[in-house]
């Protein structure tokens, strides 16, 4: 079945919509497996058990924060440093959840608050792409999220059990799959010349922050700078691209 046929069938039907969400996340799910394995290996090297590693992935479900936490791990556990770092690494989710909020009109309150637990970068980006087609449903979103979550928990636990037998993901370009997907989605979101302002401002600010600041501050700083730039250039009350497309 072609993607277009799957898409056509998916409209309106819970099961088909769920499967279509899962199908569209499949490349990202596969690309995430080597990273889950490496996270598990790293956690094992720090003395965490398979159960502890699986629970971390199940509870936290935030790749970059988990990698940083595993890196910081010592005994006694620097619990406040780890939690504060997690919060800092995840600041971008404030922006992400604000941007997806207006697109969740088909979600009940309960579905929204349950669904937002799964708002990882990959899920957010693909969900917004679906929303741009006017078709973001709870079924699609949970089809994206639940298999992705199961895979993340399963493969990070497996990585912990296997130990240090895993090859470097950059050797096969797995590290670049996320970049390529985000680039394609970004390309799809460019609608007019005004789109270039947040992109240029964000890229410039993120690169400077990446050079000067530790860890992943660059993501939040670039994101907020691009967002503010777009807000500032908008003409008040004629909120932008509406009149341009």
């Amino acid at each position: 079945m072609s993607t277009a046929e799957v898409a056509k069938r998916a409209e309106g039907n819970w099961r088909d919509d769920f499967l279509f969400g899962a199908w569209q996340m499949a490349p990202l799910l596969l690309a995430g497996i080597p990273f889950a394995l490496i996270l598990g290996t790293t956690a094992a090297a720090k003395g965490l058990s398979p159960a502890e590693t699986g629970l971390m992935s199940a509870f936290v479900f935030a790749g970059s924060a988990q990698f940083i936490a595993a890196g910081l791990w010592t005994h006694p556990i620097p619990i406040f440093v780890v939690i504060a770092t997690t919060w800092m690494v995840n600041l971008r989710h404030l922006l992400m959840s604000a941007s997806i909020g207006p697109q969740m009109g088909r979600f009940s309150r309960r579905q929204s608050y349950f669904g937002l637990f799964f708002l990882a970068d990959e899920i957010w980006a693909v969900a917004l792409r679906r929303a741009a087609e006017g078709k973001l449903t709870p079924a699609y979103y949970f089809g994206q999220s639940l298999p992705f979550w199961v895979s993340w928990v399963f493969w990070s636990t497996t990585g912990n059990i296997l130990g240090s037998t895993i090859a470097d993901p950059s050797r096969y370009g797995f590290d670049y799959a996320f970049v390529a997907v985000f680039l394609v989605i970004l390309f799809g979101f460019c609608r007019n010349r005004a789109s270039l302002i947040p992109i240029v401002v964000s890229a410039a600010t993120a690169l400077i922050a990446w050079k000067l600041l530790p860890s992943v501050w660059y993501i939040f700083i670039g994101g907020i700078a691009g967002t503010v730039a777009a807000a500032l250039i908008a003409k008040p009350e004629t909120a932008w691209p509406d009149d341009a497309h």
């Binding site: 404030l94 394609v184 970004l186 690169l207 700083i221 807000a231 909120a239």
Partner: protein, 100 residues
């Protein structure tokens, strides 16, 4: 199945730190009218955050990553998403081999 209590407490803390940031923005936009500059800013969030996520890899890691980014964009212009992604990944593997 060994599960240390302090470890579990850390996971719960990390979960709350993550979940709070994943609902706070949503909570905010449910309560304020989305118009004018706020609307323009929110509509630019995907552009700004996606750019910030990939900027260091695409623009400042090496010629292989930058060229593969261009290949990905060229493919995305004409082909479906999956083809562009596979093409971009293949390009980065090849270019890294050639460029070290």
């Amino acid at each position: 199945m060994r599960i240390d209590l302090a470890t579990l407490a850390t996971w719960v803390g990390m979960m709350l730190a993550t979940y709070s940031s994943r609902v706070a923005g949503f909570w905010f936009v449910q309560r304020f009218p989305i118009r004018g500059r706020l609307k323009a800013g929110l509509e630019a969030v995907p552009l700004a955050v996606l750019t910030a996520l990939i900027a260091p890899t695409v623009l400042a890691t090496g010629p292989a990553e930058t060229l593969a980014g261009l290949v990905t964009l060229l493919l995305a212009w004409r082909l479906p998403v999956l083809a562009a992604v596979i093409g971009g990944v293949a390009a980065v593997v090849l270019l890294r081999n050639f460029m070290g």
